[in-house]
């Protein structure tokens, strides 16, 4: 019975949606069933897969590029105090610039296309990841670093055997949050800067003939993929060598 409660919640929400559409007699906002049909229509036209792949492709590239650069960069800043002093204030100023504010520059440098979107997602993930890695290095217990050096580890060994495993739990949480932001940004970027993907689908469906059923279908797809990405990242957090964490100690 307890297992069913969550489904009940979703069912109630969908039912309330249906009721609201029927009762207000709106023509613009589609009913749940119309939204499902719209997803079917997208699948038939072959756009469903194409748009999903386009969005995921951009997120994957931008996000992994950011991981690849931000984590070593953040660790370097975390272990090298002078470097941090020099660079951190600049990161703090650049970080709150909405990645979307970079759109004009992205288009200027990379043109209208995938590369611009990838660049924006890269920016959106790079700063939070850098800060997370840096902060995580600060949070390492001195005892663990001391123990590592006591057993005769060289600096590269210390990095691999103490620093990396010690920051992993915080890093994985930061990675999940950054992926959430990246997913938010890809939709916005696609609404403005490119001609494919789920964000484009939403804008296009509205502009080309007020197809609000397609708009809502797009929203559902964005939500569903977001949930899946979040669940995948949460799975990472339950791995044995990640599940500890200084907070829970």
């Amino acid at each position: 019975m307890r297992r069913l409660v969550p489904f009940l919640g979703v069912a109630l929400a969908v039912f309330a949606w249906h009721l609201a559409v029927v009762m207000t007699g709106t023509r613009l906002v589609p009913s749940p069933w119309a939204a499902v049909r719209a997803i079917g229509e997208l699948a038939q036209k072959g756009l469903l897969l194409k748009y999903i792949v386009a969005s995921l492709f951009r997120v994957t590239w931008g996000y992994f590029l950011a991981l690849l650069l931000a984590i070593p960069f953040g660790i370097a800043l975390g272990t090298w105090r002078r470097g941090e002093l020099a660079v951190n204030p600049l990161i703090q100023v650049l970080r709150p610039i909405s990645p979307l504010a970079w759109i004009p520059i992205a288009i200027l440098w990379f043109g209208v296309g995938d590369l611009s979107a990838v660049f924006l997602i890269f920016l959106a993930s790079f700063f939070p990841l850098t800060v997370t890695a840096m902060q995580a290095v600060h949070n390492i217990e001195t005892i663990h670093l001391s123990a590592g050096t006591n057993f005769g580890l060289s600096r590269p060994q210390l990095l691999v055997r103490v620093i990396l495993p010690a920051i992993l739990p915080q890093l994985v949480v930061g990675m999940r949050l950054a992926l959430g932001v990246a997913w938010l940004v890809v939709v916005a970027a696609e609404m403005i800067a490119v001609n494919s993907g789920l964000g484009f689908l939403i804008v296009d469906a509205r502009n080309a003939g007020d197809r609000y059923d397609l708009v809502v279908a797009g929203m559902i797809l964005i939500g569903a993929i977001g949930v899946v990405l979040d669940l995948l990242m949460r799975r990472l957090e339950t791995l044995d060598f990640v599940r500890w964490g200084y907070a829970s100690e």
């Binding site: 307890r2 409660v5 969550p6 009940l8 919640g9 979703v10 929400a13 906002v29 002078r82 002093l85 020099a86 660079v87 951190n88 204030p89 600049l90 703090q92 100023v93 650049l94 970080r95 709150p96 610039i97 909405s98 990645p99 979307l100 504010a101 759109i103 004009p104 520059i105 288009i107 200027l108 959430g180 932001v181 997913w183 938010l184 940004v185 890809v186 939709v187 916005a188 609404m191 403005i192 789920l198 964000g199 939403i202 804008v203 469906a205 509205r206 609000y212 708009v215 809502v216 797009g218 929203m219 559902i220 964005i222 939500g223 569903a224 993929i225 977001g226 949930v227 990405l229 979040d230």
Partner: protein, 247 residues
């Protein structure tokens, strides 16, 4: 010596970066991308015309209303959902499904419901901040150590007293972190919303400067302003967190 480094090093890095930027503009001979001096001049120019101030005012007004509404609604609702676990189980899946929908994806619906007006971007900012706040408050209440609640009941507190004197102080640190994170997202969404849905504000300044005459000096100026104002808010939130922890 150490404290001198603390101020000198960032200034030095900033100077090096600005010099590199300047050199890059000269070396590439670009006519479009502005030099640092051009950006400074652009900002100054805008500030003189007072347009800048009204844009900043508009942006902050939108964020304050959207975010404020989310705080007023989201936190009590989150506390309620955390306090009654059965209710939480019922509603949480709906929240989890709505949460990852990029707030910007609501834009077309927001425009049908509210027209092209200030309300549409405020609604988007409201949505963007609501879910993180709901989740922070709910998780906060669920994680209040049972010991605290027992102690509270032991001293004979009623439920409203328990809320005010035990639950709320106990979740405050976590709540403040949630407030800061939600604000960060709200700030990000604001800019995007202004780029699409309205014709004032810092987001609009950026997109308009580009579309109307490729004024990239104003684009970059607008970006810097967004960064600086965002940083100011972020610093405020962090200060509040530190105060709450010190108490």
């Amino acid at each position: 010596m150490k404290s001198v480094e603390r101020y000198l090093l960032p200034v030095l890095t900033a100077m090096v970066l600005i010099a590199l930027w300047h050199l890059a503009v000269i070396a590439t001979g670009t006519n479009i991308f502005p030099s640092p001096a051009a950006v400074a001049k652009g900002i100054f120019h805008l500030a003189e015309k007072s347009l800048l101030w009204s844009y900043i005012g508009d942006s902050i007004m939108r964020v304050v209303f959207g975010y404020g509404a989310a705080v007023i609604l989201g936190i009590p609702l989150g506390i309620l959902l955390g306090w009654y676990p059965a209710l939480g189980r019922l509603v949480n899946p709906v929240i989890q499904m709505l949460r990852p929908i990029s707030p910007l994806a609501w834009m077309p619906l927001a425009v049908i419901w509210f027209g092209v007006s200030n309300v549409a971007p405020i609604f988007l900012i409201f949505l963007a901040s609501l879910f993180p706040l709901l989740v922070a408050a709910m998780d906060g209440v669920r994680n209040v150590p049972p010991m605290f609640l027992q102690a509270g009941r032991n001293f004979g507190l009623s439920v409203p007293q328990l809320m005010r004197r035990v639950v709320f102080p106990a979740i405050l640190p976590r709540l403040l972190v949630g407030l800061r994170i939600a604000f960060g997202i709200a700030w990000l969404v604001l800019v995007a919303a202004e780029m699409i849905a309205v014709d004032s504000g810092l987001g609009y300044l950026i997109i308009d400067s580009r579309n109307a005459g490729k004024r990239y000096d104003l684009v970059v100026g607008g970006m810097l302003l967004i960064g600086i104002i965002g940083l100011a808010f972020d610093t405020m939130f962090r200060r509040a967190e530190r105060l709450a922890r010190a108490e």
